[in-house]
């Protein structure tokens, strides 16, 4: 990965906004059999607000971009995903500090901190059939390459299908949660897919 500036992160979140918009109904469909059928509209509402806020006053540093995005998600989404995604981006942003540019290892470390914060906030661990099942393998593979991270996150999301849910609404279903992909894992996979997309553009 080349060094990344605030513009890179703005583009990443733009790409994520577009992806979430495109995939909203799929995410909501995934949230129907094992949830409450709102994940797509939650993510769309949140990232649309992120796009608006970042366009109006684009922050100057990578850290500020992610913190502002995280704050916006907390303020606009609600549900489980609002605080969790908000925390992911805010904590990642905080870990980036106020540097103007970030290198690959710096992003890896910061995202790791963000993912850890999600685990801390929600009390889930990988294997619980949550967004962590895409985030964790994604972050683990990121030092290798963004492409590897994209793939790992996508695989991680798919791998939630046979799992029994232990956190979030899907856990209410017990055995009946088995056989369905976790919606939050699917949206988290989009985070790495769009990262790879934007990184490829930059290269």
């Amino acid at each position: 990965m080349p060094e990344m500036d605030a513009r890179f992160f703005l583009r990443w979140l733009e790409a994520m906004t577009a992806a979430v918009d495109r995939e909203a109904s799929r995410l909501t469909e995934l949230d129907s059999p094992i949830g409450d059928a709102d994940h797509g509209s939650n993510m769309r509402r949140g990232f649309t607000a992120v796009a608006v806020s970042l366009t109006q006053t684009p922050p100057a540093t990578p850290g500020e971009v992610l913190k502002e995005a995280g704050r916006t998600l907390v303020a606009k989404v609600g549900g489980a995903s609002g605080p969790l995604y908000g925390t992911l981006l805010r904590s990642t942003g905080k870990a980036l500090g106020d540097a103007e540019r970030v290198d690959g290892p710096g992003l890896c470390a910061a995202l790791r901190a963000g993912v850890d914060a999600v685990g801390q906030l929600g009390g889930a661990v990988p294997g619980d059939k949550t967004m962590l099942d895409a985030l964790t393998p994604g972050v683990d593979a990121l030092p290798e390459s963004v492409e590897a991270a994209r793939e790992a996150a996508a695989k991680g999301s798919e791998a939630t299908i046979p799992l029994l849910a232990r956190r979030g609404r899907a856990s209410y279903l017990g055995e009946r949660s088995i056989g369905h992909e976790d919606p939050g894992a699917a949206s988290s996979a989009l985070l790495f897919a769009t990262l790879a997309e934007v990184a490829a553009d930059v290269r």
Partner: protein, 330 residues
């Protein structure tokens, strides 16, 4: 599925405009989505604030008023509200005696209320929280999100609200709210799925000859699907599930609750069966509330909530309440 709406994105604000126009006793901030009793903050009174995803009406907005909630924060349909809403509500109802948040146990509600409490505490408010987790259909362990909060919320809000209205301090209101929360158990049954405005179709498929046992109030499927049962059989199953978890050694309050689309005619018939089976089990029912109170949009079905009470809680139940959807004594 057709809906009486102007589009999915307008549902919550339109409803708030409607509440504002219909209920002069309420101050409704449509923009920021906070419903507050007109006379808030009530001097020397603990403030009671609740909220959650919309789609469960009259919960919570219909329970704002004298003797119950001071404010309610509606989120999007089935989506818990954002922290800013509860923080605003807390500020609006704080008379200096502190604020109690009544939180239904869902990951989203818990996280957002926690963040709101932090915001409010940053402003110097004293905030306490009570978690409602009454749904026996969910296994309560460290490997689940824990029991869901459903019908028991009404009892927590009414009983704690009555106590707060009497001027009890925050620690006492909180303690009683917790006592009520621990004394409530619920069990729900769906005869049909509900349709969310955002999805526009049923949240799950339920064949014409089957029902779901152990459903929540968010259109999620339940724990078990069975061949359609009679009202009598459903009452037997629901009460059995409740009594496996709650063994009242005294009288109970009973909420026989409709999920939204089940006619009151049927709910009363079902309530008769609930009374029959409680009678068979030797459990005296002190008060019964029958109707649509904690709903799941247009889902057909019902839930039963039992709340074990002592003399004091019964007195608080009978105390005056003046809200849009629960009212007596004033």
């Amino acid at each position: 599925m057709k809906m009486l709406i102007n589009g999915p994105e307008h549902v919550v604000s339109d409803a708030l405009r409607g509440m504002a126009a219909a209920h002069p006793d309420l101050t409704v901030d449509v923009e920021n989505r906070v419903v507050v009793r007109r006379d808030a903050p009530v001097p020397r009174k603990v403030g009671l604030v609740s909220g959650g995803g919309s789609g469960h009406e009259p919960l919570h907005g219909g329970f704002v008023g004298r003797g119950m909630l001071d404010a309610a924060c509606p989120g999007e349909v089935f989506t818990s509200p954002v922290p800013d809403q509860m923080a605003r509500a807390a500020a609006a109802v704080n008379s200096g005696q502190g604020v109690l948040f009544v939180v239904k146990n869902y990951t989203g509600d818990v996280l957002n209320f926690d963040m709101a409490a932090e915001l409010a505490e940053d402003e110097g408010l004293q905030v306490a929280k009570v978690l409602v987790h009454d749904d026996v259909a969910v296994i309560d362990s460290s490997f689940t999100a824990g029991r869901r909060g459903t019908g028991g919320t009404l009892f927590v809000e009414k009983l704690a609200g009555a106590l707060a209205e009497e001027g009890a301090p925050l620690d006492r209101v909180t303690a009683v709210a917790r006592q009520v929360s621990e004394s409530c158990r619920s069990f729900g049954v769906a005869l049909s799925a509900c349709t969310t405005p955002a999805k526009g179709g049923p949240t799950f498929d339920l064949p014409a000859d089957e029902l779901e046992l152990g459903i929540g109030i968010h259109g999620e499927p339940g724990r078990e699907r069975r061949a359609m049962m009679s009202s009598r059989e459903i009452a037997d199953a629901a009460v059995e599930a409740l009594l496996a978890d709650l063994q009242p050694d005294g009288p109970v309050l009973a909420l026989v609750n409709g999920m939204g689309a089940t006619p009151l005619l049927e709910l009363y018939g079902f309530s008769a069966e609930v009374h029959r089976v409680l009678g068979e089990r030797g459990i005296p029912v002190a008060r019964t509330l029958v109707g649509n109170y904690v709903t799941s949009l247009d889902m057909a079905g019902c839930s039963v909530t039992l709340c074990q009470v002592d003399e004091e809680l019964l007195r608080l139940w009978d105390a005056p309440v003046r809200t849009a959807s629960l009212r007596w004594g004033c």
